[in-house]
C-alpha cells in the first residue's frame, strides 16, 4: 500500500493558458518523509490541492491509500480526505473560537476512521500529542486558539494533522511564519511524530535549510516538467 502514488498528472487551471502541473511519477512509502522544495509560484500549492482533492483531477492519475482520487466525487472526496490525510497550512490553521484541544479533535468529529484510530479516548490522545509537541501546559490547551502564539498555533495544527494516524500529512510551508529556532524545532517534531505514527509526510517549502530533517528531498522544478 502506498500512501501516495502519482502517475502522469497534468493539470491546467480553468481558463489558464498553460498547464501548471506536468508530473511523471511521485510515490511515497508508508512513514516516508519527503521534502519538496522550489520557489514560490511554481505550482507546489496546486499539486497539494490536487492531492487533497480540491481540484478535479482525471481518473487514474492520483492514488491515495490505494484509492483512485479521480473516481471520487464531491462529498465522498471530502470524507475520504479527512479519513486519510492530515493537513498543515502556512498560517491560520485553527478555528479561532475553539480551544487548542478542540481544534486538535476536529478531524475526529468529522471522520469515523480518524476517531477510531485515535484510541478509546481521543481527548487523551490529543493531549498526549500536544504534550509531545511541547504544549503540555493545561492552561495552554484550554486557551482559545486565537490567544496562542503563531508557533504554538502551528504545533496545534500539527497535532491535529497527526491525530487518528492518517496515511499522509500534507504540509504547505508550515514554517514560513516562524523564526529560525522555532522552524527547526517544529520540523524536527513533526518529522519525528510522523515517523512514530507511520504516517507519510509530504513537506513543501522554499527553504532548503530544512532539508536535512527528511528522508528524501525533491526539487519541484525537476519533478514538474511544465515549469521548465
Amino acid at each position: 500500500m502506498h500512501p501516495l502514488r502519482i502517475e502522469n498528472l497534468s493539470y491546467r487551471w480553468p481558463r489558464a493558458e498553460r498547464r501548471t502541473l506536468e508530473i511523471g511519477t511521485l510515490t511515497l512509502a508508508p512513514g516516508e518523509s519527503l521534502f519538496l522544495y522550489g520557489p514560490s509560484g511554481c505550482g507546489k500549492s496546486t499539486l497539494l490541492s490536487a492531492i487533497a482533492g480540491v481540484v478535479d483531477v482525471p481518473k487514474g492519475v492520483i492514488r491515495l491509500a490505494d484509492q483512485d482520487l479521480g473516481a471520487l466525487r464531491g462529498g465522498a472526496r471530502d470524507r475520504f480526505r479527512v479519513d486519510h490525510i492530515g493537513m498543515v497550512f502556512q498560517v491560520f490553521n485553527l478555528i479561532p473560537w475553539l480551544s487548542a484541544l478542540e481544534n486538535v479533535l476536529l478531524p475526529c468529529t468529522f471522520s469515523q476512521r480518524r476517531r477510531t484510530r485515535a484510541g478509546d479516548d481521543p481527548a487523551r490522545t490529543a493531549r498526549l500529542l500536544l504534550d509531545e509537541l511541547g504544549l503540555s501546559d493545561p492552561s495552554l490547551t484550554s486557551k482559545q486558539a486565537h490567544e496562542l502564539s503563531v508557533g504554538q498555533q502551528q504545533r496545534v495544527a500539527a497535532a491535529r494533522a497527526l491525530i487518528g494516524k492518517p496515511d499522509l500529512i500534507l504540509a504547505d510551508e508550515p514554517t514560513s511564519a516562524l523564526d529560525e529556532a522555532a522552524k527547526a524545532t517544529f520540523v524536527e517534531l513533526l518529522a519525528r511524530e510522523c515517523a512514530e505514527a507511520g504516517t507519510a509526510l509530504l513537506f513543501v517549502s522554499h527553504d532548503r535549510g530544512l532539508e536535512r530533517h527528511f528522508d528524501r528531498s525533491v526539487d519541484f522544478q525537476d519533478l514538474n516538467r511544465s515549469a521548465a
Binding site: 481540484v55 471530502d78 479527512v82 478531524p107 491535529r160
Partner: protein, 483 residues
C-alpha cells in the same frame, strides 16, 4: 453540529443577541396584536351577550353600544320613561332593563339601573352575574351601590364602604357629588367584561346625585335642561319652579338689555315659560303614571337606554322597526351583534395596519439575521476552509449556517414569548382597568402555534441566502483561502 453552531454563535454573541432581540420583538408584536384583537373581541362579545336589543335615543349604533354596554363615551338622555313603559309592555318583550349613565366613580362608569339588571344581564355565553360579597341592589336602598370586581379590587372596596361619585366620565374630576354618597351593598364576581369596571346604583340614587347640583348650572334658555333632570321629590320640584321663574326673568332682562324690541323679548320669554310649564305638566303626568303602576320603585323622568330581552328572538327585527318608527320619541334600536360587526368594520383597517406593521417588524428582524449571517461570511471564510480541510463537506457547512439561523430564530421565538408574557403581565391590570380588556396568560392556540411555525420557517428560508453563498464560496476557496 448544534453544539458547534452554538459555539460559533457564542463567539459572536453580541451581534447574535441583537438579532435574537429583533426577532423576539417582532414575535411579541405579532402575537400581541393578535391577542389584543382577540381579547377585545371576546370581551366585547361577552359583555353584550344575552341582550337582544338596546334601545336608546336616536344615534349611531356603535356609539350607543359603546356607551351603554362598555361605559365608553356617552349618549344623550333623551328617552322618556313613557317609552320605557311602552317598550316593557310590548308583547314580544320578555324583559326590559332601564339604564342611566354619565357619572363616574374615580374614572369608572357609574350606571343607574334597577334590580332587573342583575336578573337579566348575561355575560360570557349566558352566565348570570354573581356576587362575591354582599347583596344586589334592593328596591328600597336608594343610596346602595354594587361595584364590579375590578373596581372593588383596585380600591379595596367591600360591602359597607361609602363612596362618592363624580359627574362626567373623566378619571380626574373636581365636580364631586360628595353630598350624595353611596354605601356599597355588594361586590360582583369577576366576569372579564366591562361590568367588572362598573359601579351600579339604583335609578333613584343616580337621580339623587343630580338633585341639588345641576339646576343652578342649567342653561336658562334651554327648556330641556329642566325636564332632563326631573325628580320625583317635591322639594326638587320646588327648586325647579323657583329657578324656572328666576331664569325666565333673567332671560327677559337679557333680551331687553340686548335689543330694544322689548315686547318681542317678553313674548319669547313667555313662550319659554309656557313651554316649561307644559314640560312640567308632562312630568306630573309621568308621576301619576308611576303611582298607578308598581314594579319600578323609582321612575326617573328620562333615561339613557334600555336593555331588551325578547321572548322569541326571531321577532327582533319587527321590534326594531317598531322602535324606530315610534313617533313620540326619537329612538334607535340596536342589535348588539350587528353593532359589534359594524365596530369591527371600523377598527378592521387599524387592525390590518397593526398586523401589517407587526409583520414588517418580523421582516426587518429576518433581514437583520440575514445581514448578520452574511456580513460575517467574509471573515469566516478561513473558518470554513479549515472545516473543509478537516473533513466538513460544503453541504455540512451550508447546514451549519442554516443551524445557526435555526438557533437564532428559535431563541428569538422563545424570547419573544417571554417578552409577550411579561408584557401581558405588566399591562393586564392597566388594560382591564381602562378598557375592561383581559388578555390573560392563555395557552397558545393553534393559530399562534401556526404563526410561530411560519416565522421559524421564514427564518430557515431566509438563512438559505447566506448559506448558499457559503456553499459556493467554500467550493471555490478550497482548503486555503487567499484573502
Amino acid at each position: 453540529m448544534l453544539g458547534f453552531s452554538l459555539r460559533s454563535l457564542w463567539n459572536r454573541r453580541f451581534v447574535a443577541g441583537l438579532t435574537v432581540l429583533a426577532i423576539a420583538l417582532s414575535v411579541a408584536l405579532i402575537l400581541g396584536v393578535e391577542r389584543l384583537r382577540d381579547g377585545a373581541r371576546d370581551s366585547f362579545a361577552n359583555s353584550a351577550s344575552g341582550i337582544d336589543l338596546i334601545v336608546a335615543p336616536r344615534g349611531n349604533s356603535v356609539q350607543i353600544l359603546m356607551a351603554t354596554v362598555f361605559g365608553v363615551g356617552g349618549i344623550g338622555t333623551g328617552m322618556t320613561w313613557d317609552s320605557f313603559k311602552w317598550l316593557e309592555d310590548r308583547p314580544e318583550v320578555a324583559w326590559a332593563v332601564p339604564v342611566q349613565m354619565g357619572d363616574n366613580h374615580r374614572g369608572y362608569p357609574v350606571i343607574g339601573t334597577d334590580s332587573s339588571y342583575f336578573e337579566h344581564f348575561r355575560h360570557s355565553g349566558g352566565q348570570p352575574l354573581s356576587l362575591e360579597a354582599g347583596t344586589f341592589l334592593a328596591e328600597d336602598g336608594a343610596d346602595a351601590a354594587v361595584v364590579g370586581a375590578e373596581v372593588a379590587a383596585r380600591f379595596g372596596y367591600g360591602p359597607g364602604t361609602v363612596i362618592v361619585n363624580a359627574h362626567g366620565s373623566g378619571e380626574v374630576s373636581f365636580d364631586l357629588h360628595d353630598d350624595a354618597p353611596f354605601t356599597i351593598s355588594g361586590v360582583l364576581a369577576p366576569t372579564g367584561t366591562a361590568v367588572d369596571r362598573m359601579v351600579l346604583v339604583t335609578l333613584e340614587g343616580f337621580d339623587s346625585i343630580h338633585a341639588q347640583e345641576e339646576v343652578p348650572l342649567a342653561d336658562p334658555l334651554d327648556p330641556e335642561a329642566f325636564s332632563a333632570d326631573g325628580h320625583e321629590d317635591n322639594a326638587a320640584h320646588e327648586v325647579h319652579d323657583d329657578h324656572a321663574t328666576q331664569s325666565d326673568h333673567d332671560s327677559h332682562d337679557d333680551h331687553t338689555a340686548h335689543d330694544d324690541h322689548g315686547s318681542h323679548g317678553t313674548n319669547e320669554a313667555h313662550d319659554d315659560a309656557s313651554e316649561d310649564h307644559s314640560e312640567h305638566d308632562d312630568h306630573e303626568t309621568h308621576g301619576d303614571h308611576a303611582d298607578a303602576e308598581a314594579g319600578h320603585g323609582h321612575e326617573p323622568d328620562r333615561i339613557n337606554a334600555v336593555y331588551v330581552g325578547l321572548i322569541d328572538r326571531t321577532n327582533v327585527l319587527g321590534l326594531q322597526r317598531a322602535v324606530n318608527e315610534r313617533p313620540s320619541d326619537a329612538l334607535s334600536a340596536v342589535l348588539p351583534a350587528v353593532a359589534l360587526a359594524e365596530l369591527w368594520g371600523i377598527t378592521g383597517t387599524a387592525e390590518r395596519a397593526m398586523r401589517l406593521m407587526a409583520w414588517a417588524v418580523a421582516l426587518a428582524g429576518m433581514i437583520g439575521m440575514v445581514v448578520m449571517l452574511s456580513a460575517t461570511l467574509d471573515t469566516r471564510r478561513r473558518e470554513f476552509a479549515i472545516l473543509r480541510s478537516v473533513g466538513a463537506t460544503p453541504t455540512r457547512i451550508l447546514a451549519l449556517i442554516v443551524t445557526e439561523a435555526a438557533v437564532l430564530t428559535a431563541a428569538g421565538l422563545i424570547l419573544g414569548l417571554v417578552l409577550l408574557t411579561v408584557a401581558t403581565f405588566v399591562t393586564d391590570p392597566v388594560l382591564s382597568a381602562r378598557f375592561g380588556l383581559r388578555l390573560g396568560l392563555n395557552v397558545f392556540g393553534a393559530r399562534e402555534l401556526a404563526t410561530l411555525f411560519i416565522i421559524f420557517c421564514a427564518g430557515l428560508l431566509a438563512s438559505l441566502i447566506p448559506a448558499v453563498r457559503v456553499y459556493r464560496m467554500t467550493l471555490a476557496d478550497g482548503l486555503s483561502v487567499r484573502l
